[in-house]
Every structure is written in C-alpha cells, then in structure tokens.
C-alpha cells in the first residue's frame, strides 16, 4: 500500500513514532552476544570426546568402561538413556548404543557395560582392544527408556535379562542414592550364576534399602543355589508382587526376553501404558522376523546405488546402515533399532524389508523414507542419503 494512502490510517503517526523508538532503543542482535548455542550444546552436544579412565571386569564376558570427558562437562541424562559409541574396526566406522550404567547423579563420568556377543563386531573390539587411556567418540545421551514422572507409577518393576541390567543399574543407583520417592522391584534373569552382572552390588543395596527388592532368577542354578530358578514368568511376578495395580513395568534384555516376558505381562493384564520396553537392535535371525519373505536366503546378493553414484555390494540379510558403513558412506545413527530416525534415508527405487516395530512416520512410508538401521534390501536399491 502506498505510503501516502497509509498516512490516512487512524493512528498512523503513533505507529511511525513507535517504529522510530524501537529502532533507536531496540535489540542488539550482534552475533554470539547471547547465543543459546553453547547452552544447547551442554544438553545436546554434537558429539562427545571421551577417554577411558578405568576398565572393570564384571564377569568373564563383561567389562565396564568408565568414560570421562576430554572437552568440558558431560551432559546430564535421564537414568536409562544410552550413548552411542563410535568406533573404527578395521576399515569400518560404525557405532553402537550402550545404556549408561552409572547414575545421572555422578556426572563426572559415564560407565558403559559391554558384554561379548559371539559375532559382535563392536563388543569384541571393545573387550579385546579398548584400554585405559584410549580415546573414544560418542553421540550425546538419547533414548526414551526412563521413568517419566508425568504418568509412570512411583512403584517400578524392572525386568532385566543378561546385559539388559545396565539401564536399571543407573535407575536403581539414582533412586537409592538420591532418596527419590519410589519403590523398585528388580527381576533379573540369567542363564548361569557366572553371567550375573552387578550381583554383589545389587545384593548389598537390597540389604540396605527396604524400597529396593532384588529377585535374581537363574536358568541353570548351581547345586547350592537357593534363589528363584527358571525364567521370569508371569507367575513368579505375581507371586512376588501380589498386587499388580499402580505399578509401571520396564523390560530390557536380549530379544528372547521380550519374546517371552511381554506376552507374560500381557497375560497378567498389564496395559500398554504401564509397560515400557527398551529398543533392542536388529533381529538376531532375520529369517525368523515376522514378514520376512518365505524362502529368501539372507545371503542373496544385492546392490545399492547411492546418490546416483557408486554401487555397493550387499546381501538381503545385511541392514542397509551396516552396508553403508562397510563402504564408508557416512550416515549419522544412534539407536540402531529403528526408533530415533537419525539414519532416515530415501529409497528412490527398490523394495526393502522392515521388521515390525520400526518407528517410521506414516508419510515417510508413503514417500519412501526408511530408517537404514532396520531396513534390508529385497531388491537392488537406489537410495538418496
């Protein structure tokens, strides 16, 4: 609108005066004067530069790595969250999420507790080669597996299998050390007595705090063992807890634990809103994953064309992210379980298999976006990274 017309508007002079006043006495936007960037980076650093301060042997197959920061304070986290360690194994740069096993009230270090998996690329590398003093890179704390006071009960029932104890150790230590108003039941299933991580510490805490109940469960108990045996069944849970109302259940462990325990809890009538489960990586045997095409050999060779350029060799059973990392195509990742969406890429041509439970947005599915960490090529692919 022309200025001479605008001048006729009621209140025009007043607005012009206000504009002049605001420009004279306004905001100084000089860069970095009050930039929120450093604050945001305190909570969500782009990456963490860590050093191994100590290594503790927990069991024959498990070590805890105590990590300290080389560049400023470690960001706060919620007990149960994980960091993703970035490692170079041979020519492959990859990452793995590890729950922080130390409590958030000890922010001088993060502990991560690593168990050996028979074919685990990263776990074997860390357990065999990582030494005190080594430098490690990691992504900041993330994940949705924590006590949310908005709707979780103060009465927490934790169900762990094997290495799934790690987020719970952080939660339990925080609750007991900080005197939080919560009660905790921990059901901890293991195959053999020698597999149990943090057993002495947990036994000791249970003896000292009435609010913490520790129920170890062994599949193959030694002869002198007097505790609970077998699996963590619904029957056992009911027997120990009695009343199942007003309790939030948290499950963390290997895939077998979810396959067994979740149906047990559902049979006990625990609604989804009181049942939290940690994500657990890719299926251990993709052929057994629901919806995997019958008869498709995971070793079937496939090719992936990236950004219209080079073509990478892969096989049907290899997650796309692993293939990209093997060929040194950089894609950020964190959870490696299909949840965090960091490794979102677009498929221009070809079909992929995605196991149930991958948290892909509805419109992403429609427009061909996938989470590379839990996508398997069913055909040769053409993707946009």
């Amino acid at each position: 609108m022309k200025p001479e017309v605008l001048r006729e508007f009621d209140g025009y002079e007043e607005v012009v005066r206000a504009i002049e006043l605001s420009r004279t006495h306004g905001v100084d936007y000089t860069p970095d004067k009050d930039s929120p960037e450093p604050y945001i980076r305190r909570l969500h650093p782009a990456s963490l530069h860590l050093q191994i301060q100590d290594v503790f042997v927990e069991t024959p197959s498990t070590k805890t790595f105590r990590l300290v920061s080389r560049d400023g304070p470690l960001p706060p986290f919620q007990a149960g969250q994980y960091i993703s360690l970035v490692v170079e194994v041979g020519a492959i740069r990859t990452s793995r999420p590890y729950s922080i096993s130390s409590p958030p009230n000890h922010l001088g270090h993060y502990d991560v507790t690593v168990r050996r998996y028979p074919d685990g690329l990263v776990s074997n590398h860390l357990l065999d080669h990582a030494r005190k003093g080594d430098l490690l890179e990691a992504t900041g704390p993330a994940g949705e597996f924590y006590h949310n006071p908005l709707f979780h009960s103060k009465h927490m029932v934790l169900i762990a299998g094997g290495c799934g104890i790690t987020p719970f150790r952080s939660m339990i230590r925080e609750i007991l050390e900080c005197g939080l108003d919560r009660t905790v039941y921990l059901f901890y299933g293991n195959r053999d007595a020698g597999d149990v991580i943090f057993h002495e510490e947990l036994t000791d805490l249970a003896a000292r705090f009435d609010r913490f109940h520790y129920i170890p469960v062994l599949e193959n108990p030694p002869p002198s063992y007097t505790g609970k045996t077998g699996l963590v069944t619904g029957q056992l849970i009911r027997e120990i807890l009695g009343d199942l109302e007003d309790k939030t259940f948290y499950v963390c462990g290997p895939q077998g634990l979810y396959d067994f325990c979740i149906p047990e809890l559902e049979r006990l009538g625990i609604p989804r809103r009181r049942l939290r489960r940690e994500v657990y990586g890719t299926p251990s045997d993709i052929r057994r994953s629901p919806g995997w095409p019958a008869g498709l050999d995971p070793d079937t060779p496939m090719a992936v064309k990236v950004n219209g350029g080079k073509t990478l060799a892969t096989r049907a059973g290899e997650p796309l992210l692993a293939c990209l990392e093997r060929h040194r195509v950089a894609v950020p990742s964190s959870c490696r379980s299909g949840a965090c969406s960091l490794c979102r890429v677009k498929v221009l041509a070809g079909r992929v298999y995605q196991p149930p439970g991958a948290l892909v947005r509805k419109s992403d599915r429609k427009h061909g976006y996938i989470h590379a960490c839990v996508s398997y090529p069913l055909e040769d692919l053409d993707i946009l990274v």
């Binding site: 609108m1 017309v5 605008l6 006729e8 508007f9 009621d10 209140g11 025009y12 007043e14 607005v15 206000a18 504009i19 605001s22 420009r23 306004g26 905001v27 100084d28 936007y29 000089t30 860069p31 009050d34 929120p36 604050y39 945001i40 305190r42 909570l43 969500h44 304070p73 960001p75 706060p76 919620q78 922010l107 949705e144 949310n148 006071p149 908005l150 709707f151 609604p271 989804r272 809103r273 950020p332 949840a339 969406s341 960091l342 979102r344 948290l359 892909v360 947005r361 509805k362 419109s363 992403d364 429609k366 427009h367 976006y369 946009l384």
Partner: protein, 501 residues
C-alpha cells in the same frame, strides 16, 4: 555442475514452497536443510504406536473443493493437493474456564453469534455488530491490500482506515463490557504470539474471517505429509535436496548474491538465495560483516523476537470421546486479564494458569492414531530466554515440573486424562531452539505488534540483490502465511528473471 539458479536455505514451509515453485518452472534449484527431515515446524515424531503432530493445529485458507481458499489454489498449482488428504474440522474452538464458562463455537458465523449471545445475553447486539465489523474489515482488507486496489482511499474503505492500526483489546473494549466475553473472543492470540493488548486487530479479524469462511483443516498424516509431498514434488521437478547440510555463508559481490557455502565447506554459485531462516541469522551470521547496510541493521533492531512454545504431547489409550475430547480445539483459560498479565506469563518460566490450547486431532480424523486411542497436544507460549538460565543439571526436573502443572490445569477440564497416558513427550523452548535453530526458539518469528504489520515491514525484500526471505520472520506467522511466503518469493524471482532475461 555446482551452479544453481537458486539456493534455498531451510526446508520449512517457506523454503519448501519456494523450492517447489521454482523447480516446477524449470529452474535449477538446490534446497539445503540442516536437519535430516524436511518441514521445520511442520513435522512429526514417533513414540510407541503414536505419531505426534508437532505444529499444525488448524490449517487456514484451504477451503473446500466447492469453495476453494487461496491455499488450496497454491497447493493445487504445485501439484501436491492431490497427494494429500485434508480433513475438515467443523468446530472453530471451545473455550473452557472451569466453573466459569464452557462455550463451543463452530466454524459458522451464525452459530458463533447465537452461541455467544446465549452465554452473554446482555451484549446481544454488540456481538452481532462485532462480527459485522470483522467481516467488513476483512472484506476491505482483501480488496484494498491483497488485491491492491490502486484507488484505495478513506472514503472507499472506511473500516480498514479506522481499525487497521488498532489493537485487539482496544476494539474489544469499544464493543464489549464483560471481560469474560473479551477473553473468549481473543483466545486466538495464542496462534499469533502476542496478547490482545499488543496484537493488531487486523490479525484477529482476518483469522476469524478465514477460519469461518474457509474452515479449519487438518492433514492426514499430519503436517509432515505436506512437507514430504512438497519435497517429492520438488525432486520430481528436477530439484536437488541436501539434508543434514546447513548453510555457513552467503557470498556476495557488488551487492548481489554470488554463492552459498555449506557447513561442509562446499561452494554453490547461484543467482538467487531464498532464506527460510530469520533475518537475524541471515544478516549477522551468513553474510560477511559490512555487507548489510547500517540502515537495514537499524530496522532489524526495531524488531523483537517472539515467543517459543512449551508443549506436552500425549498418546492416550482411550478414544477421544471417552477422554472427553468433543472438540478438536479447546482453549483452556484460567483468568480474564487481557492486559499485561498474559505477556508477563509468557516471559516466566513457570507454568500453571496461562492460556493454553489442547488439540485433539482424532475428533476430526478418527484414524489419526490406532483404534481405541487418541492423541492430544497441550501447548502454551513461552519465551525462550528464561530457559537459558536453568542449570543444565536441573533441566529435566524443570521440564517435568512445568509439564505437570500444565497437565494439572488441563485435567480440570478433562478429568482423568493422565490415567490414560500411554506415551508422553515434552518440548520446551530449548527443544525448539535445538531443532529450529531460531533465536529464542521462536515459533512465530518476530512479534507482530501493529508497527510490525504488513503495512510497515520489508517483507521478503532484502538490501542484497538476489536475496529474498520466506518465513514467518518476513511476514505473518502460521502455516498458510509461511507457505504463501515461499510461493511469493519464488514468484518474485521468476518475475525478475522474466524482466531481466
């Protein structure tokens, strides 16, 4: 090879429509986005079996197929309307003040007037006259401003000339006595970022008019569906998009843009740059010091950064009706002060009894979440600054405390909803700062005082030739205005190309 006609920085609403419009006209366009997903505010995220809508509450300006609004025309023109499914919301809004009032307005002028008259019989005539004014004002605004009547004059547009530069509160005071009625009529300030005593009446009038005439809408799949559809159309038109790739510098030569340099250090020569970022970041961080004339920086100092938002996202394990969500949009009100109190409340960190809106998308779209569930988001506006004073170690506790108080207030209107939460996530102004990268985590750009209204501000223009703006920062806030801003910037580039060859 690396040369582009235009580089668009940021894949928010404005960046997306700008890129799609330019690419469809055959220009070689590069779209840069810092995040790994397009949309900016227009996005969603997943938790458990829920996909949470981040920003879209009521899409304005779309209109029905029979009576299309300006936005439908724009989306049709870009070829994305047919890829999307729009859901009409029949209700305008509900205002609930526990124990005081509960009024449900439909997107229908007659119903709005009669419903308000039922609750405020003493102001019967004034209500009628107020909506006459809203319609007259909007009509005059359309002809004089949007359709650029060259003969605009005071005698031709008396309502526009009289009311355009007044505040909402000023106009409400002229018509009404009851503070409760004034509160009920001005809750939409929550969509505009400034309380009624500071907000230009023009914005409220246009919002009422647009929602009633063209109806509020939602999109199946949420605003992410629109963002994804725009990117797909852009790619199909030959556009290039780079995610996880922000811009670091805009190079100029003799007062004209020459290239954009990315955070990875790649250089892309180009003739035009569309900035979907704030002018603050564009002028002071992306351009070399000394490039922007002192007069422009002085104008910038006159603008103030608007509020961010505090949001509680909830996935519930009961359907909408069982949870008590009968309307898509419920404004929850705890007091009827429309002077300085709401503004001061936005400036405080603590939450409790400020204006908040609860949107439940399942009311209009039962498929919005899995059968037997519904999802809702509870939003209040908060400035970012106080959150930068929270010690990082206190951040989570502060976030939950504020969310808890907000939820307590909502529970007074929707008793028992907390018992059915299956997933919940909280976004603070810091969350918005982190993901949007805007100063103060602002969700609506600059504050929209009367002095900042379209009559007085530079809009998409910049003093650097070839550099244009397209976002809430350069015009009005909200989905329709930002989508239009991108399209407008693209058309300006196309005009310049046609004129200059």
């Amino acid at each position: 090879m690396n040369d582009y006609d235009a580089v668009v920085i940021g894949a928010g609403n404005g960046g997306l429509t700008a890129s799609a419009t330019l690419a469809r006209q055959g220009l070689k366009v590069l779209l840069l986005e810092k995040h790994n997903i397009p949309g900016g505010c227009a996005t969603s995220f997943c938790r458990g079996r829920f996909e949470f809508e981040v920003a879209l509450h009521q899409l304005s300006g779309l209109g029905t197929e029979a009576k299309p609004g300006p936005l439908r025309g724009l989306l049709n023109g870009l070829g994305v309307a047919q890829d999307l499914e729009f859901v009409e919301m029949t209700d305008l809004y509900r205002v609930a003040m526990p124990g005081v009032i509960d009024v449900k307005l439909k997107a229908d002028r007659g119903q709005v007037i009669s419903e308000l008259q039922k609750h405020f019989p003493a102001e019967r005539d004034a209500i009628e006259r107020f909506f006459d004014l809203v319609y007259r004002f909007a009509g005059e605004m359309l002809s004089a401003v949007y359709f650029r009547d060259p003969e605009a004059s005071r005698s031709k547009y008396p309502t526009l000339f009289r009311y355009a530069l007044r505040t909402c509160k000023d106009v409400l005071d002229e018509f009404f006595q009851d503070p409760l009625l004034k509160t009920v009529l001005s809750v939409y300030w929550g969509y505009l970022g400034l309380p009624p005593n500071r907000l230009a009446f023009a914005y409220l009038a246009i919002l009422f008019f647009t929602y009633i005439e063209f109806k509020p809408f939602h999109i199946k799949g949420g605003s992410q569906a629109l963002s994804n559809a725009l990117v797909s159309k852009f790619l199909a038109s030959g556009g290039t998009v780079r995610f996880r790739c922000g811009a670091r510098k805009i190079e100029t030569e003799n007062g004209r843009v020459r290239a954009v340099i990315t955070e990875d250090g790649e250089r892309f020569p180009c003739r035009f740059v569309v900035s979907n970022l704030s002018p603050i970041v564009t002028y002071l961080e992306l351009l070399e010091p000394g490039t922007v004339p002192e007069q422009t920086l002085r104008e910038l100092r006159g603008r103030s950064v608007g509020p961010s938002a505090f949001v509680v996202f909830m996935g519930l394990d009961r359907d909408a009706r069982t949870c008590g969500f009968t309307e898509s949009t419920t404004f929850i009100v705890s007091h009827t002060d429309i002077t300085e109190k709401p503004y001061n409340q936005m400036r405080e960190l603590e939450t409790g009894n400020e204006l908040m809106v609860l949107s439940c998308y399942n009311v209009a779209d039962p498929d919005f979440s899995p059968p037997g569930t519904c999802q809702a988001s509870l939003v209040t506006l908060k400035f970012g600054e106080p959150w930068l004073r929270v010690p990082p170690s206190e951040y989570f506790a502060t976030k939950y405390r504020c969310a808890d108080r907000l939820l307590r207030t909502a529970e007074k209107v929707f008793p028992g909803i907390r018992d059915h939460i299956e997933e919940a996530e909280v976004a603070t102004p810091l969350t918005h700062m982190r993901y949007l990268g805007h100063p103060g985590g602002a969700v609506y750009g600059f504050e929209q005082h009367t002095k900042d209204s379209l009559f007085f501000q530079p809009g998409r223009a910049s003093p650097i030739q070839g550099l244009l703006f397209a976002s809430a920062w350069s015009g009005d806030c909200g989905f329709q205005p930002t989508l239009e801003a991108g399209h407008g910037a693209a058309k300006a580039i196309l005009r310049e190309l046609r004129a200059g060859g």
